[in-house]
Symmetry: C2
Subunit: 567 residues, 2 copies
């Protein structure tokens, strides 16, 4: 007969099909996410032709070249199988499935059916079983082989089912285990992909963030003084807006005024001046040593410090002089500031991630993270990641987490849904989301059903913020203290992670810059505030109580525990 | 700066993401199906970072190494894009997507936004546009370059928007087309997969099958006599159960009796005897020449002959003597007959597709199709494909259709849903399905919603049979002629392809072998029937009318036109 050019040499006798694995994100292109101690429950459609019985194992390992560990998969219904494993180590796990025709179990089931159908003479059927047992014995240790051959001999001698406990004997567990073990996995099918799990630290799953402008408290030392109060309220993360020198060129004044009066501090997101850039500290906040002290002191209160990483420059940032090739020049030689017409950010210049020197730019941006990691920072809130090349984030976060799997990256991805989810797939640990604008029961149920009951739940961890320095929602503007209490409780109970921009939040600050706007009047972004923390209206006690309830209720500590149904 | 081992050299400046393409079956592992003249509508999420405008094209070709043709994709909403192309040629088409940042359109939109925002001095913005036009001119033909440079000069000279028609000029269609054309697709993203379309003949989409045992009509010549009647009823396909010599060993008698009286004909599915096997014709049906005559005569009536391919052997099939290695032997040396306890098929022996000589067995099985293709058969109804290795079908159908894209394979896949769908993915053109047992409104709506409104519709074409020689449903047993009329109309209108086992069907034959059974009493499988075609109860006229309505209503001619909603 003719040779055939596309003969499936390897696959021809692999009779088992494995398909429709869950979880599997974008055909395995992206990882799912877990934290240490969580389980990964894997399901798949596993089936073969005809009526044979199958066996399947879930294979997993904590490194790409490690030995596979295995856990058995169980048949559910309608050719669906399920298995699970626990992840314990931070970093990457991998999983896949192996399945094969279980010849001995197929024989057992066939024998049972024949006995049930009333077939009396089963000597040939028992001899078939004996042949499988003998095949197993040929691969067994001497001792096991002896046992197996005794079984084979017994089955070979039985003539009929009458008065014989042979059915029970043929299903004996030791016999089954031993025979299946030595028969092995002939012609087994290995699922064609290795799927990945990113295992993050516990805080990635369950955390409460407190955002605070250090300059309104006199810098890092002032922040230290706030630690007991923040800890008492029950927060795990203290997040600081950018702590770097602020540009002086085109600095914004109070209420985003394009004119800045002398002495006005400017926006912390307009990063860089002659005093330094993304690796420097604003002199009015303290020194690098003060910052390290704050981190150390926070740890005593079980609080992690999160830094804001905003990849953009004030016009007087040192990069602009040192690396003009990293910025987009206009025909008049000037450098293009950030804008999204009609909005203009004259105090901010974006990087040109498409520039010819993009590789060095990417390496430099990554080195900013590395600098702060070197000084003890483990959590980063990333400003507007959706305005930078997607491929940059996959590479940058991938590289950083390969060395530091304990890192957490929160994406300020207030953007369209596809981009928001893509950033989570690319590696961001948590993400801002549409919670601030979901108010009605329907809106909340439908949105949280999407976040918790769709495949999104496997890679996207929402962090719920009722307010931010940029967002004073209409809802918060209308009903005073009650509105803040409502949004606090929703944020703290609809998701396992939430945060508030404060003390504006606990002090129920609700004056917008103008009607229909979401900007704060006299926003802390452009001025130093002196907050009256002892206000009788403060939500401090309510917040403390809510965080206590969260700590006491495991159901509130994982988004996977929270079930919503679309209406 | 340090080199980095995993730097995304190629992808770093490819800023556009293409994901969530539909249709795409199992991450591109399998093809979708169309017939010549149909359209393929492709959608995808396509987006980039920031606010730039995109362009995207759907690329398609009718052979793996052909030049790509392109059709533009249009933006829908929420980062979703759509494009389409028509398939005309039988065989395989391939499609994929290319998308890129459209720098010139981004500039146009940015300019518009600035003008709308009231910015008056736009000279710098116009100079930026002039730079893009100049870049295009550098790659243009001399004549186009001249035109482009004139545009660039014009924009470079404008100072402000006041009183100038510049916005309209900047959006000029010729300018846009020419500039975009010459700027090209810098850093474009090509979707990582080529997706496949199998283009089948028209009959794969829309057909009516008539199944008939030739022996009950005196063989092929008797079939010829029936052609005018079958054509008048409006059928496209005349499907014959196996036409090969029938085994004499263990031949079944009337009503599946294990004892066969002399002269009883046996089941046509018990294939092979000393008179020949799968490539021979039962002498009582006629000669190979008679068979070819039937095909030719049927063509005159626009009827295709479909053959039944059942990969199994009677115990006296020549293969068993010539290739004992292709069958499973029992410890007593006998060959195992087919069974699914308590059912026994003593007159049938299955092939062992796992045997050591499996490759030669596969080639021989494929050669059976090739033999009949050589004699003019283009449509095959495949018996019980789910009891043969899945990989066999993908290889066999793939090889056959590569040479003969006009072939149609109907899978008799009365099996579990996952296997049924898998066989369709692997290459079967159409499939039997659960229609016979879906009776209530809810059952029908939910099932046909699954078949027509889920991704299943892209690869699975149901062929609806109210009865078969194996299936006389409970529904048909109860209400006489009315029940048959109901199931006929449902079959003919719920799907674009349907078939009836006849004349049992049009004669409303409804006697089961026993209560609760679906087997016919005195089934034609085991005896030669003499049908009274002139019965006054015959549904012949109704069938003719129904088929006429189908031919007159395009809405009934494609499953994609039929819309059902789950209840």
């Amino acid at each position: 007969m003719n040779e055939n050019r596309t003969f499936p040499e390897q696959e021809g006798r692999r009779r088992v099909v494995i398909e429709n694995i869950t979880p599997e994100i974008d055909a395995g292109r992206f990882a799912i996410k877990r934290v240490g101690g969580e389980r990964v429950v894997v399901e798949a459609d596993i089936f073969t032709d005809g009526h044979d019985s199958l066996a399947a194992v879930l294979k997993f390992r904590a490194a790409e070249n490690a030995e596979w560990a295995e856990s058995p998969m169980e048949f559910l219904v309608n050719d669906r199988w399920r298995g699970e494993f626990a992840v314990t180590k931070l970093g990457n796990y991998f999983y896949t499935i192996e399945a094969w025709v279980d010849q001995f179990k197929s024989w057992q089931i066939n024998l049972q059916k024949k006995i049930e159908a009333g077939q009396n003479n089963i000597s040939i059927e028992l001899q078939i079983g004996a042949k499988w047992i003998e095949a197993a014995a040929r691969r067994a240790t001497a001792r096991d082989a002896e046992n197996l051959l005794a079984w084979a001999k017994e089955f070979g001698a039985v003539e009929s089912v009458t008065g014989s406990p042979i059915e029970k004997r043929a299903l004996d567990k030791d016999l089954t285990d031993m025979t299946c073990h030595y028969l092995g996995r002939q012609f087994s099918t290995n699922y064609e992909k290795e799927l990945r799990v990113i295992v993050d630290p516990e805080l990635a799953r369950f955390c409460a963030w407190y955002e605070m402008f250090p300059r309104s408290f006199g810098g890092f030392k002032g922040c230290e003084e706030q630690l007991p109060r923040i800890a008492k309220m029950g927060f795990d993360v203290l997040y600081l807006p950018p702590i770097h020198p602020i540009g002086k060129l085109f600095r914004k004044g109070k209420n985003n005024n394009v004119k800045c009066e002398p002495g006005e501090p400017g926006s912390p997101w307009a990063i860089g001046s002659s005093e330094g850039g993304h690796k420097a500290i604003h002199p009015e906040l303290g020194t690098l040593a003060d910052f390290r002290n704050l981190i150390a002191r926070a740890k005593e209160f079980k609080i992690e410090i999160a830094l804001d990483i905003a990849f953009q420059c004030a016009p007087d940032h040192p990069y602009i002089r040192e690396h003009p090739e990293w910025f987009r020049k206009r025909p008049d030689g000037s450098i293009q500031y950030a804008e999204n017409p009609p909005k203009k950010y004259q105090d901010i210049v974006p990087f040109d991630l498409e520039c010819d020197d993009w590789k060095n730019l990417w390496l430099e941006l990554k080195s900013i993270f590395e600098f702060w990691i070197g000084h003890g920072v483990k959590i980063f809130r990333v400003d507007n990641p959706h305005t930078k090349t997607f491929a940059f984030w996959e590479w940058c976060i991938g590289e950083l987490k390969a060395k530091n799997p304990e890192l957490i990256f929160l994406a300020e991805a207030f953007t369209r849904p596809k981009s928001m989810y893509r950033l989570a797939k690319l590696g961001f640990t948590q993400s801002y989301n549409y919670f601030p604008w979901r108010n009605s029961k329907d809106e909340l149920e439908n949105y949280f059903a999407e976040l918790t009951q769709s495949p999104v739940a496997e890679f996207f961890r929402p962090n719920l913020w009722p307010n931010t320095p940029d967002i004073l929602t209409q809802f918060l503007q209308t009903d005073g203290r009650a509105a803040f209490a409502i949004r606090l409780i929703l944020a703290a109970t609809l998701g396992a992670s939430y945060g508030i921009y404060s003390p504006a939040f606990e002090l129920c600050e609700n004056q917008p810059r103008g009607p229909g706007e979401e900007e704060y009047l006299n926003s802390e972004k452009y001025e130093i505030k002196r907050w009256n923390l002892s206000s009788p209206d403060s939500l401090e006690n309510l917040i403390a109580r809510v965080n206590q309830i969260r700590r006491e209720n495991p159901a509130l500590q994982s988004n996977r525990n929270l079930k919503f149904h679309r209406t």
